[in-house]
């Protein structure tokens, strides 16, 4: 549940719906819109999209990815979304949330970054979750022949593993493991023809800092097997508190150097003498961090960080994170 005292309550939640062509994205979108949930959504569909149902507010948009003039090449935003959100705010109060459907080949990073980089968008909306629809039968092939399929899984907060009726239980288990290897913190829902309850997709608060690592990956089991994925995840946990200055210096340099390869980063940090947890997240180079709720009584105050990306250097990341600890 979102914190009732947080100012984010007035912000319009935005759900990003990604997925490869043929994965069942449009079917899922139509389900969301036809289900009787008593809420109204503004829907932004891409230029090739079609909506099979009536919805009061559908915006047809060209996906315009703009580079920011800040010297950071991975810092791209969706210019069309900045305009559309500005326009939608003029009829504020007429809808409860915004759903953005991307094209099958879209990289989700520019969409996500738009909600962190643009001040106007940030002041009026909040990115609620990235929902990725994948096809249980064809995912292995998609992962083999495109970068985007892995990117869409890597960025996801919620994964709808669709068309499970077309695969054997063994195939399903294998495909789920491949998803886990890429992204250990997404919630996975099995589905046939997108039959996932809307409550499992919308209002997830996945980008709220106090939900960072709410779905804790299994830190101990993580190192047990080697992955062969193009995109992989790595998690680290340390015992001693983290020195904020050292951490900021390390993570700042790491994101600057490796930001293009680091798709998503999430961490919960224990600072010395601080009863609150420090939460941290980044999409490529764009980082966000703040104190969230206190450590629970009896909870071990271990700092944890998870990286999802390409060409991750495990020993280097481990040493880097370990060196941020206060001296023993």
């Amino acid at each position: 549940m979102p914190d009732a005292s947080a100012p984010t309550e007035a912000l319009v939640p935005v759900t990003v719906l990604t997925g490869y062509l043929g994965a069942g994205k449009t079917t899922l979108l139509n389900r969301i819109l036809t289900e009787q949930h008593g809420r109204k959504y503004a829907v932004v569909i891409n230029e090739f999209g079609e909506l099979g149902v009536d919805n009061d507010l559908v915006v047809d948009s060209d996906e315009e990815v703009f580079e920011m003039n800040n010297g950071c090449i991975c810092c791209t935003v969706r210019g069309d979304l900045i305009r559309i959100v500005g326009g939608l705010m003029k009829r504020r109060g007429k809808f409860d949330g915004i759903i953005i459907e991307t094209t099958g080949l879209a990289n989700p990073a520019p969409v996500a970054q738009t909600f962190f980089v643009d001040e106007t968008v940030r002041s009026r909306t909040r990115l609620d979750a990235i929902v990725t629809v994948v096809d249980a039968k064809h995912l292995p092939q998609r992962l083999a022949d495109s970068h985007e399929a892995a990117d869409q899984i890597a960025f996801a907060d919620v994964i709808v593993l669709n068309k499970t009726d077309l695969v054997t239980p063994e195939e399903l288990a294998a495909v789920e493991q491949r998803i886990r290897d890429i992204n250990p913190f997404a919630t996975i829902h099995h589905a046939v023809r997108g039959d996932v309850p809307v409550t499992a997709l919308l209002e997830q608060g996945a980008f709220d800092l106090d939900r960072v690592l709410a779905h804790t990956p299994d830190f101990l089991a993580d190192d047990a097997h080697e992955h062969n994925e193009d995109v992989a995840s790595m998690s680290f946990e340390v015992e001693r508190p983290i020195d904020p200055e050292r951490f900021n210096a390390w993570i700042g340099a790491l994101l600057a150097a490796e930001g293009q390869n680091l798709l998503r980063t999430k961490g919960i940090l224990a600072y010395p003498g601080e009863d609150r947890r420090f939460a941290f997240q980044a999409v490529h180079m764009i980082a966000d961090g703040d104190f969230v709720g206190p450590w629970r009584e009896g909870e071990p105050r271990r700092s944890r960080i998870v990286f999802i990306g390409r060409n991750l250097n495990r020993p280097q990341l481990r040493r880097g994170f370990e060196s941020c600890q206060v001296k023993a």
Binding site: L57, E67, M68, G79, L88, K90, R91, E119
Partner: protein
């Protein structure tokens, strides 16, 4: 303490005000001097002889408003994909429909011989004659974020990703003069002499091109995006929003290069959201995020309060052509017209 009362003195003594309960997207005076407000609920509200008239022009939000090129009435664009003409009596006529695409910007140029209407829809700007017949379509490489006619109606300037384009309205061949600068340009202004094109950028800065010598102009230092920019009648100053003051760049003596801007009506923690230069004098009206509206005399730096804070961030501001009246509206639906001319 009657601080608030005094800040509202002009509004109280010379204003007509209304609460509309919907986002005021834009305001304009028609060529005969009737003011209208365009709202987020799809209506236009016209003020005629002291009484308000509501016209359901769009099914959705109105996104843009301009005076019609004719002697009376307005043109507007909406998120219903329609480019609509509204007469003073409330009659609406669809000039063109674009389905799910939004009509995000509109402009007009009134000329006895060849009046022109323009509407920006995605990557295209559609030009129409006064009767509403399509003259031509100007296609850009990315979505158009702003458009403006020059003072003589000969050219139309548009802003978009990676720069701006200048098109000749009457040209047979549709090749624009493309002004390149990397990045996303989100609004545009043209100096009265037509020599300077200035855009606002995504990165809280302005970029300009001097057409006569190809000189680039960079104006930066804003804490927020500039949404509104306006040249004074003389072209000596460019007034801009996006800072905790009205920021005025000098376009004289080689400026704005190497010159500091003048800041007027500064207020801590309150952003200037709208500016509109007076059509005759070296003065600028400005609206702020706290709802304050002021009139600033540029040469003397004197500030005249028009409306006190507290009625929502100012989102629309316009002068009548004779400079006698100022119309303004806010995000929360407050609107007013203040008459400076009456004795």
């Amino acid at each position: 303490m009657s601080q608030t009362a005094s800040l509202d003195h002009l509004l109280d003594t010379r204003g007509v005000r209304q609460e509309f309960g919907a986002f005021v997207v834009a305001t304009a005076f028609d060529r005969g001097g009737v003011p209208a407000f365009a709202l987020g609920d799809g209506t236009l509200r016209l003020l005629r002889d002291g009484s308000w008239q509501s016209v359901a022009a769009h099914d959705g939000a109105v996104l843009a408003l301009a005076a019609d090129a004719r002697a009376e009435g307005f043109v507007s664009g909406g998120d219903d994909g329609r480019f609509v003409r509204t007469a003073r009596d409330g009659t609406t006529t669809e000039i063109a429909g674009f389905g799910m695409k939004w009509v995000e910007h509109v402009a007009s140029y009134a000329d006895a011989k060849s009046p022109v209407l323009a509407g920006a829809v995605g990557k295209q700007v559609h030009l129409f004659d006064a009767a509403g017949a399509t003259l031509k379509t100007l296609t850009h490489g990315s979505s158009v974020s702003g458009l403006v006619f020059d003072a003589r109606g000969k050219r139309i300037a548009t802003s978009h990703y990676n720069g701006a384009s200048l098109w000749f309205v009457a040209s047979k061949s549709d090749n624009p003069r493309v002004l390149e600068w990397k990045g996303s340009h989100i609004a545009i202004a043209l100096s009265p002499d037509g020599d300077s094109v200035v855009t606002a950028m995504q990165e809280n800065a302005l970029h300009g091109w001097r057409l006569s010598d190809g000189q680039h102009m960079r104006m930066s230092g804003y804490p927020a995006k500039t949404q509104s920019l306006s040249f004074t009648r003389s072209g000596k100053w460019l007034a801009t929003s996006g800072a905790e003051a009205i920021v005025l760049w000098p376009f004289t003596g080689g400026g704005p290069m190497g010159k500091a801007p003048t800041e007027l009506a500064g207020a801590d923690g309150v952003l200037c959201t709208q500016v509109a230069c007076h059509p005759q004098h070296e003065a600028v009206a400005a609206g702020f995020s706290d709802g304050m509206v002021v009139l600033a005399d540029i040469p003397s730096g004197r500030i005249l309060p028009v409306a006190a804070p507290g009625r929502g961030p100012i989102s629309a501001l316009a002068w009548s052509a004779d400079g006698g009246r100022l119309a303004f509206g806010s995000e929360s639906g407050f609107a007013a017209v203040v008459d400076f001319s009456k004795a």
